[in-house]
């Protein structure tokens, strides 16, 4: 057996190593301690620190000879009450904060004024529109970046080697378990930490490592442009994100996959909330990164809850976590239970892959830096759900048909549902987010209707490439226009940043299902599958979705890169509606795009038998499914292609040539109303919010403030004060008159005697 398989642990080990070196060695001992030399503002900051006899910070730092985050440098400077610093800040910022030139000036003022670093803080906060990072990462931070890239590159090479090894040796394709260690074993119950390698794993590994590699490479430029201070930290989080995803992909059992599952949640939490200082921007309908991260984690937990219960059912029924052992041990388990279990497992997928009704976290997750969005959407988080279903597909087969039906219909509905929302958004990244949700819907349809995981995974692969490209491209756009995500402030960028625009266009075509592009093969196959299995409702849904996808993607394209006056009828370039100057991104931005463009265009041929594509065979080991053979033989394809071309044409007409009036749909009140609903994402967020606020919190308040405080404590305190009151009463009996005492003595004696006598004589 190839050492690529037996030593598979190398792949997760690499990012782990990168993470540890980064967080334990390089960041604390080199990066942080050299931050001051980072750049002018920081230097000035440190300088100012001495200048104002930085009480806390200086003493603090000397105290334990370490210099914390640059943030720490600001500590000492607020010796004047922070509040008037605040006021002064507002004065300084007043008026000209929107002009970039103001920032260095504001900073300079800041260093002069006492308490000015609160001001610096405020300047930073105010800077979000437009975004003007100051400072640049230290050399050590960069080294962290290089290290991460290097290790991820090695991991990528390893996975490539694995893929090749598997391709050459079909025996391996059907799966090998690679034991690592036993986590716990109690009374015969084994909780294994083992890896499992088959062709599915190999594909996923390649996708994950490849995308991660490119994204990390790209992130150098991006983070430098958005949050240079977090440079090292960002790469650390990226490494742990890759690690958790790899664990998830490699796991041979429900225990490890659940671990990876949760860890993915953790890393997404950290990365989405990476720009922790940012505030919410209600005007743009954007939450604060912190809120977005919280939402992502909690919503995922809802899915995980179902997932966990599913696992519990299977584990308690079979006594094992291992995917490959479960079917054997299922024995005479009743079908209903298994079906329920699998549907519950699918709940997990719904959460991670942001399917309706747990899709709400994904658009908000856009608050993370764009590379993170690329990772989450292309390779990591959302792919996990699809992967889970694919991995447990045999169990889905064993289960009643309802399980897969649920999968398919959830997917189908989500696809069209998300696509419809995407129609009206004006935020670049949000449109892409909804398109992801919709595409994932496709994948679940593929898994649900076909009796094989081929189509779903195929689409997962192609989508990974072009969606990564789309996101990185949008990131490039944002860098160019200073982090403004509002398409209304863009337009005609194609001529201004062609190196970003060109690959972006390719990806757009690919996702729209333009013939011979990757997306075309994978998507049309799924649509065809629905028809073949006689799921005409799903067929309609998916077909409609294809049209919508094409439309909103090209709407995005035209609003961003094209527009009136562009070449080819507004397809290329046009008038620019923004205020800030467009900056040309450097190669670290466009090189990954170019690289990604290749698979986005050509990956499809792996599935096209006419050119010898054998993806399905490779992934499932089954012979090809008909629709897979040759798209052009089946009439269905015509409809698919037609739908997408129609969408493209409509978008071109409305936004490129502008021959179709823009308000063609919203001119009538019905359309307007519908548009409003779409704009508000069907009000689902509001519904959830209301539920949490009034039901969950309400009940909790009752429990905490009524039951605890009033009832239980009431009883307790009541008992206490009762005893005291009793005592107060009793002490009155002590009248101080000796004759009462005497009376008590004799009275007591007589009473006792009487009682005693009565008991003795009438008691028997």
């Amino acid at each position: 057996m190839s050492f690529f398989v037996t030593d598979i642990w190398v792949i997760p080990a690499l990012p782990l190593l990168a993470f540890l070196l980064n967080i334990l060695v390089l960041r604390p001992f080199f990066d942080l301690s050299n931050r001051d030399k980072g750049h002018a503002a920081e230097a000035a900051a440190a300088h100012g620190a001495q200048g104002h006899g930085a009480n806390t910070a200086a003493g603090h730092d000397e105290a334990h000879g370490n210099v914390g985050d640059p943030e720490q440098h600001d500590i000492g400077h607020a010796e004047a009450s922070p509040d008037d610093a605040y006021v002064r800040a507002l004065d300084t910022l007043d008026g000209h904060i929107d002009t970039p030139a103001a920032i260095p000036r504001a900073l300079r003022t800041a260093e002069k004024t006492p308490g000015g670093y609160a001001l610096v803080q405020l300047v930073e906060d105010a800077e979000q529109h437009p975004h003007h990072p100051h400072g640049s990462p230290t050399i050590w931070a960069r080294i962290n970046g290089y290290m991460g890239i290097l290790f991820m590159g090695l991991a990528f090479l390893w996975s490539l080697g694995l893929l090749v090894a598997l391709m050459q040796n079909p025996a391996l394709q059907r799966g090998e378990t690679v034991p690592i260690y036993t986590w716990i074993s109690v009374a015969g119950l084994r909780y294994p930490i083992d890896f499992y390698v088959d062709s599915l794993t190999a594909i996923m590994l390649v996708i994950v490592t490849a995308i991660s590699l490119l994204v990390q490479f790209y992130s150098q430029a991006y983070i430098e442009g958005e949050e240079p201070r977090g440079y090292s930290r960002f790469f650390a989080w990226l490494s742990i994100f890759s690690l958790s995803m790899l664990l998830l992909v490699l796991s041979s059992n429900f225990l490890l996959i659940y671990m990876g599952w949760e860890l993915v949640g953790l890393s997404s939490y950290l990365l989405i909330g990476f720009l922790a200082k940012d505030a919410a921007k209600p005007e743009a309908g954007r939450p604060s990164p912190g809120a977005a991260a919280l939402k992502a984690f909690v919503v995922n937990r809802v899915g995980d809850f179902g997932f966990l219960i599913g696992i519990l059912i299977l584990f308690t029924a079979t006594g094992t976590f291992v995917f490959t052992d479960i079917p054997a041990r299922l024995g005479p388990i009743n079908l209903a239970l298994l079906t329920v279990a699998m549907i519950l497992v699918f709940c997990g997928a719904v959460g991670k892959s942001a399917q309706f009704p747990l899709h709400v976290w994904l658009p908000d997750a856009m608050e993370g830096p764009t590379p993170v969005s690329a990772l989450i959407h292309a390779a990591k988080m959302v792919a996990a759900g699809v992967y889970l279903v694919a991995r447990t597909f045999p169990l889905f087969h064993l289960a009643g048909p309802q399980a897969l039906t649920v999968v398919a219909y959830i997917g189908g509905f989500t696809a069209i549902f998300a696509a419809s929302i995407a129609l009206v958004q004006i935020d670049v990244k949000r449109i892409l987010a909804y398109s992801t949700i919709s595409q994932l819907g496709y994948m679940f349809v593929g898994l649900g209707v076909a009796d094989t995981i081929g189509p779903g995974i195929f689409h997962l692969m192609t989508h990974a490439f072009f969606k990564a490209l789309l996101f990185l491209g949008s990131g490039g756009v944002l860098l160019a226009v200073s982090m403004n995500q509002d398409m209304r402030k863009m337009g005609g960028l194609a001529t201004r940043i062609p190196l970003v625009a060109f690959p972006f266009l390719l990806a757009t075509l690919s996702i729209s299902g333009f013939p011979f592009f990757a997306g075309f093969f994978s998507k049309d196959e799924i649509i065809a599958q629905t028809w073949e299995h006689g799921d005409y409702i799903l067929y309609a849904m998916t077909l409609a979705t294809a049209f919508l996808t094409a439309f909103y993607m090209f709407r995005l394209w035209f609003l961003t890169f094209g527009g009136k006056g562009g070449k080819f009828g507004g397809l290329w370039g046009g008038e620019y509606r923004g205020t800030v100057a467009v900056k040309k991104p450097d190669f670290r931005v466009w090189l990954p795009l170019m690289i990604l463009a290749v698979p986005s265009v050509f990956a499809g041929f792996w599935g096209w038998s006419s050119v010898g594509g054998n993806f399905n065979a490779f992934i499932t080991g089954h012979p090809l499914t008909p629709a897979f053979a040759n798209p052009f033989t089946s009439p269905l394809t015509i409809f698919g292609v037609g739908a997408s071309l129609l969408g493209i044409a409509l978008a071109w007409g409305m936004y490129g040539l502008q021959v179709v009036p823009r308000n063609v749909f919203v001119s009538n009140p019905l359309g307007r109303g519908f548009a409003t609903v779409l704009w508000n994402k069907y009000y689902i967020d509001e519904i959830y919010l209301a539920f949490v606020r009034y039901v969950v919190m309400g009940l909790s308040k009752v429990a905490s403030f009524f039951i605890d405080r009033r009832i239980i404590d009431g009883i307790i305190n009541g008992a206490g004060s009762g005893v005291v009151a009793f005592g107060r009463g009793l002490r009155r009996s002590e009248s101080g008159r000796l004759q009462n005492y005497g009376a008590a003595i004799f009275g007591g004696t007589l009473v006792i005697a009487a009682v005693f006598f009565a008991v003795v004589y009438f008691g028997k």
């Binding site: 009155r732 002590e734 101080g736 000796l738 004799f746």
Partner: protein, 107 residues
Amino acid sequence: MLLSLNSFLVLGALLFCIGLFGALSKRNAVSVLMGIEIMLNAVNITLVAFSSAFQKSAHGARLTGQIFAVFIITVAAAEASVALATIIAVYRRRNSVDVTDINLMKW
């Protein structure tokens, strides 16, 4: 005619109650003390009555009761002296021996 044992016992009981009543009702400490003495004497009567009853019974000629009574009388005398001394002490302090006034200390 000679009285039965019971009549003496009844007398003793009555006397005891009378003494008790006196002890609990009189306001003057000395009268209280006298009441107590009456109670003690009631006990004496009881004891002597029993003793003399036993004289004629199987228990033989033992004068335990009478001896007890004698002791009680003696001790009662001592008791009285102690009590009177204390009463005088109280009288010195507050010119009154009214037991109902003596309630500096209560609850």
